[in-house]
Amino acid sequence: MTDNINILIASSNAKRQSAERSFRVYGIFAIILSLSFLFIMIGSIGLRGATAFKQSFVQIEMEIPSDKIDADNIKRARFGKLLKAALRDSFPDLKSRKEKKQLYKLISSNAEYSIRDQVLQSPEIIGTKAKFWVRASSDVDMYLKGYIDTNIPEDQRRISDLQLSWIGKFQDAGQIESRFNTRFFLGGDSREPEQAGILGAVIGSALSLLVCFLIAFPLGVFAAVYLEEFAPKGKLSRVIEININNLAAVPSIVFGLLGLAIFLNFFNLPRSTPLVGGMVLALMTLPTIIIASRAALRAVPPSIRQAAIGLGASKVQTTFHHVIPLAMPGMLTGSIIGMAQALGETAPLLMIGMVAFIVDVPQGITDAATALPVQIFLWADSPERGFLEKTSAAILVLLVFLIVMNLVAIILRRRLEKRW
């Protein structure tokens, strides 16, 4: 009898142990699967984006004739014509217009301006034969980076056999070089992938975040102080509290609709500007800042308040002289995290028109601008192969900004926050 029971227990024990193990394995599997998505995502985007930081350049030897270029009026000179002539001189056996057109397509369409700028910088080269490094066109750049498969039929790829032979000749002569792509960081948007840069979008984002911070931080801190330190625990503060929690969960696109209907259509503020973008983002980040600031205030021990009040300070004095300074690090870290969220926000900015094609870098908060995540969205929509690389690189830049902001928040918290 007892034997039977012992066998029963032993067999059920084995079952229970294996159930224990398998459940544990499920948990580990779930975590590994979730994290593998993170690594696949960042890895695949990183691999695609890394090449965008380099750009191929072609060296062109070119006559700068003094009879065609007036040293006092270099800007008016027609460098495009000279450049095309120089290209034709490198391959003199071309006859048909079609072939010539293909030849011109090897270099970026704005190459003539970069030559003009170089001549402007050193006018003494007028009348001589000089060598210039100019940007290769995006198709050539993509080919050199190995993104264009030359095994597929000629009519299905962006670069012809003839062009390939020219590129080969340039390469043999050492006239092709891969250089760090400064324009990507210092230029505005462009229709041509090889000329496109993110500076305009980065400045647009920075200006929007500035507006957002200037509005949301004081508002959020004062609101949190009121709710935590002053508000009578009545119906009104309860309503405000529920309201704030719910606002934090409203879809971001609804804030965009609010911005469109109220800021743009009702108050007639300028469309597509960092001013309105920052205002919409401020309303979105406000709940985050309030919630974080309240937590920071709650972490200040009551003994501080009691001591201040015991020494005769009023409620307002206690709060502003003692509680707020002690809670400031927590409030700041909460705000930085809120700002980081705002930096990645795209949908509400689409609603208020920050989605236009804008070449110029914005100079102020009322200039039309775009933002970094919106730029990513715009480039992701472009069919050109060159923009795929640029999109990935812009994502990397955005992620770097986000990581830096979060690190600053973490360091700030470790450095300044007191444990009571």
């Binding site: 229970r16 879809p251 009023s314």
Partner: protein, 320 residues
């Protein structure tokens, strides 16, 4: 004596001046905290106003029960389909389909991760895994959208071709899966909090009766945490319904009324973005319909949030 008198005057004199200042400061702070309420009122007012204008042009019942969505209004009134049709049903089913795929995918992964982190993981593992999961939550949705369109959709399409399935390159599955990845950390961190809030005494009692750790989790902790977990799942659903960039970049534009996850569907948020970006004439039914959709989205997510937050609050009070 005279010194005492001046003191008295000081004490009486100062507070009254201070009192006014402090009153002003307090009211100013009250004003700041009311901005949150003003924002809600602003959202409601702007959405209701435009929605009302929309329903003067299109009947409410056509909007709510119409099966066809094609908001293009023609330039000339004699053209075919000049009025456009504004039936929101395909958008709603599309939104629900994608959200359901996301939740179906994210719920087990998020919950199991949370259980493992809360109950099994050592301190060191927790210290590494938790921030990594939070990183997943901190990645902007536009990045997820790009990932969906660039990697997930072609991958599913290719995989489908291999087994003889036709999977659209803008399939609901691709958008839903990607959204699921985005939601995993949300579910896992909320559920982690909820599971941690279950009192230790319940665990100890269960172990004392000879239950294994798995049995304790399945029979004691999860039943105790179910309301909180339900709340966090509701919050995650509301997040999925309101998510915009992933679906804008990975889901379709055409309003298909289908439950097939391999086909392209469109969502409420995609339509809002499409209707309001690009050239728009205000006061046209097309533009106004975006606000009606926004109103609808706001109400649905608000209800989900209120219910979810109530459940979570109630649950936390239970164990406080």
């Amino acid at each position: 004596m005279s010194q005492d008198e001046t003191h008295t005057i000081d004490i009486i004199g100062k507070p009254s001046r201070h009192k006014i200042q402090e009153k002003i400061v307090t009211y100013f702070m009250l004003l700041c905290s009311s901005v949150a309420i003003l924002t809600t009122i602003g959202i409601l007012a702007s959405l209701t106003f435009e929605t009302f204008a929309f329903f003067q042009k299109v009947s409410f019942l056509d909007f709510l029960f119409g099966l066809e969505w094609s908001p293009q209004t023609a330039l000339r009134s004699d053209q075919v389909g000049s009025s456009g049709s504004f039936g929101a049903v395909p958008l709603i089913t599309g939104t629900l389909l994608i959200s359901a795929i996301a939740m179906f995918f994210a719920t087990p992964l998020g919950l199991l991760s949370a259980i493992y982190l809360a109950e099994y993981a050592s301190k060191n593992v927790r210290a590494v895994v938790k921030p990594l999961l939070e990183l997943l939550a901190g990645i902007p949705t536009v990045v997820y959208g790009f990932f969906a369109a660039l990697i997930i959709a072609p991958f599913l399409r290719g995989g489908g071709e291999n087994v003889g399935l036709v999977i659209s390159s803008e399939s609901a599955l691709a958008a839903g899966l990607t959204m699921g990845v985005m939601i995993i950390p949300l579910i896992s961190s909320l559920s982690d909090d909820v599971i941690n809030a279950v009192p230790q005494s319940l665990r100890d009692a269960s172990y004392g009766l000879g239950a294994t750790q798995t049995e304790t989790i399945k029979e004691v902790i999860l039943p105790a945490a179910i309301p909180g977990i339900a709340g966090s799942l509701l919050l995650a659903t509301s997040r999925a319904i309101g998510e915009t960039m992933i679906v804008v970049m990975a889901a379709g534009l055409a309003a298909n009324l289908t439950a097939n996850p391999f086909e392209a569907v469109t969502t409420v948020t995609v339509q809002i973005v499409t209707l309001l970006t690009g050239d728009q004439e205000f006061e046209s039914a097309k533009t106004l319909s975006a606000f009606a959709l926004g109103f609808f989205l706001f109400i649905i997510t608000l209800c989900l949030n209120i219910v979810a937050l109530k459940i979570v609050d109630h649950y936390k009070e239970q164990y406080d």
